[in-house]
């Protein structure tokens, strides 16, 4: 048995004195802290700037009024309701598809089969495809092409569904994976079928994790503008959607629209809308985190 290598000879003062006051140590640590600080500082500046700029127009009129060619009369009601409609439908499509795919991949898929590996590879790739490519997909297949729905709520919802599906699948898989094998084995031992095990034991335990993942994915969808720009979201819309096949606008698109208009008062309205959007996102993320903590189980 060889002895561990002897440490390189160091003068004693090297070990004692260098401990706390070595400028290189402190310098390095300071540098790291600084780089961390960059993110914090920028975030703070951004939030402050947006709030300060949007303050004058942050009032109920923002919710009551519609976009107008007169900046003093511009509001965001059509965008807010448009967002609710689009996200509502997106959730409707995403939840069953994402959870089902997650269940299949975790519980049923034989990982040695080529078609299952293909599916996994695909999902990993799709998660990293730029969002505007999904816009192109939507434009080619849903708005025009075979489905020809046009620039309506459901086109946006379908496109966003495809965009966030990989994220939801990933979150479902992790939540399902976290359920210990012993639960499944015990259920099967008692005579339950595979599906009974999944639906009555695994899934209920995984629901909080899945719900958290869905809420986070939806909050990403709320902020997406690029794919919807390609789907015709740049029209001047002064009404709320009336159905799945109604023209629409959503908050990020309306914000973009107002930013593009050079009158400085539009910038103020845009900033106010941004504050509302960030508040909504903050709320959603807080709910997701609360869910995660409230229902967390120690196995």
């Amino acid at each position: 048995m060889t002895a561990p290598p002897r440490p390189v000879a160091r003068p004693d003062r090297g070990i004692r004195a260098a401990r706390r006051l070595d400028p290189r140590e402190a310098g390095f640590q300071g540098l790291l802290l600084l780089s961390f600080g960059l993110g914090v500082v920028v975030l703070a500046v951004l939030l402050i700037q947006v709030i300060v700029q949007g303050w004058p127009r942050l009032n109920l009129d923002l919710f009551r009024r519609f976009p107008s060619s007169l900046p003093s009369r511009a509001g965001a009601q059509s965008a807010i309701f448009g967002t609710l409609w689009v996200i509502g439908f997106t959730a409707l499509f995403t939840v069953p598809l994402g959870v089902a795919a997650g269940i299949y991949l975790e519980e049923y898929a034989d990982k040695q089969r080529w078609y299952n590996r293909l599916v996994e590879l695909n999902i990993q790739n799709l998660a990293a495809v730029p969002s505007i490519i999904y816009g192109i997909l939507g434009l080619g297949f849903i708005v025009r092409g075979p489905l020809k729905f046009g620039f309506v709520v459901i086109s946006a919802a379908l496109t966003l569904t495809l965009l966030i599906l990989p994220t939801v699948i990933l979150a479902s898989r992790e939540a399902i994976r976290a359920v210990p094998m012993s639960i499944r084995l015990a259920s099967l031992a008692l005579g339950a079928t595979k599906w009974q095990t999944v639906s009555r034991q695994v899934l209920p335990s995984a629901v909080p994790g899945i719900a958290t993942g869905i809420i986070l994915a939806l909050s990403r969808a709320i902020g997406e503008a690029a794919p919807l720009v390609l789907l015709g979201g740049l029209t001047f819309i002064t009404f709320n959607p009336t159905g799945a096949f109604s023209p629409f606008t959503v908050m990020p698109i309306q914000i973009f629209n107002y930013i593009e208009r050079p009158q400085s008062e539009y910038r103020v309205v845009a900033a106010a809308m941004i504050v509302v959007l960030l508040a909504i996102l903050l709320l959603m993320n807080s709910v997701a985190i609360w869910l995660r903590n409230r229902f967390r189980q120690e196995w």
Binding site: L33, F36, Y104, A128, P130, G145, I259
Partner: protein, 317 residues
């Protein structure tokens, strides 16, 4: 009594017939089929993306020379006579990505290193959410920030020569760097956390300082994960649309000067999209041609990054 129902399909067991079901459960088979279909949807989506990009692109290259497309320096697809050299768009994408990485890599890596090697539990609890918030801010908000705050600021404090234009790549790149920072940071942190504590302990036992452990042990060990994080960051920068659309402008210009505005690939696609070209026109097809180029570039980077992650994960498990 043996219970082996887990391993067999259809519920038959090796032991007594009392446990064999009289008929297979078709209802369950149906459910599994539906679940598989939901998962297979992802393959259909990829196929859809490839088809929806490929067909118009192939069509496009029937009328436009692909060599000219890839090497030409003048992008004017909608003018008469049109010019289809895509290099200005690619150059702009490169410049903005470069600026973004100059911000995101040092800051993200630094933040990750601090969180992984130095930070106390309380610090992490308080400050890690900051990174998550940065990651969750919609890109249109970042674009707004770039145009209304960063650009005027840069124009005011610019110390030498001509200040940047109102639409410039520098602002867009800086803000994009902040947007990507959380991605680089969190993936790098994962990579560094995966380095076994034993390596660190050994180094400390030999008398290394924290800095030496970090730079000489942890970094090299986590290198492939860190590189993968950077590549993923680059991929996100290349694919980002709103920030450049709002802050970098719409002039296709072949330049590497970040003070000027220029149109990136993504900004072109978005701009062409809301000019709303009619189906089948050459203008319509340019959207898909540039989209294909973008898809291929990000696809290659993603595959590379996934491979790297897989490789470093194997080493330690």
């Amino acid at each position: 009594m043996t219970h082996t129902t887990t391993q067999r399909r259809g519920g038959a067991t090796a032991a007594g017939t009392s446990l064999r079901r009289s008929r297979p459960r078709y209802g369950e088979r149906l459910i599994v089929a539906f679940l598989f279909a939901a998962a297979f949807l992802s393959v259909l989506v990829t196929a859809g993306i490839v088809i929806s990009l490929a067909i118009p692109t192939v069509d496009f290259f029937r009328t436009v020379n692909i060599g000219h497309f890839l090497t030409g320096r003048s992008w004017a697809p909608l003018f008469k006579p049109p010019s289809f050299g895509v290099l200005p768009l690619v150059a702009a994408t490169i410049v903005v990505t470069l600026v973004a990485m100059l911000v995101a890599v040092p800051a993200g890596l630094g933040a990750a290193t601090y969180l992984s090697e130095y930070a106390s539990r309380r610090f992490r609890k308080v400050f890690k959410p900051v990174l998550e918030v940065l990651a969750g801010i919609p890109t249109v908000v970042y674009g707004f920030f770039a145009l209304t705050f960063v650009t005027p600021l840069i124009q005011k404090i610019w110390p030498f020569g001509a200040p940047p234009d109102v639409y410039n790549m520098l602002s867009a790149g800086l803000v994009m760097g902040v947007m990507i920072l959380p991605t680089v940071a969190s993936l790098s942190e994962d990579a560094m956390n995966a380095v076994p504590q034993a390596l660190r302990a050994g180094a400390f036992a030999l008398g290394s300082t924290r800095r030496q452990v970090t730079t000489r042990v942890v970094f090299p060990a986590a290198l492939s994960g860190i590189v993968s994080a950077c590549v993923l960051g680059i991929s996100r920068a290349v694919g980002e649309t709103m920030i450049v659309l709002i802050a970098a402008g719409g002039t296709p210009r072949f330049t590497f000067d970040p003070r000027q505005g220029a149109q990136t690939m993504t900004a072109f696609i978005a701009a062409a999209g809301f000019g709303d070209q009619p189906t089948g026109s050459t203008g319509y097809k340019t959207i898909f041609a540039v989209g294909s180029l973008l898809f291929v570039l990000t696809f290659i980077m993603n595959i590379f990054s996934i491979r790297l992650v897989r490789r470093y994960r194997e080493v330690y498990e």
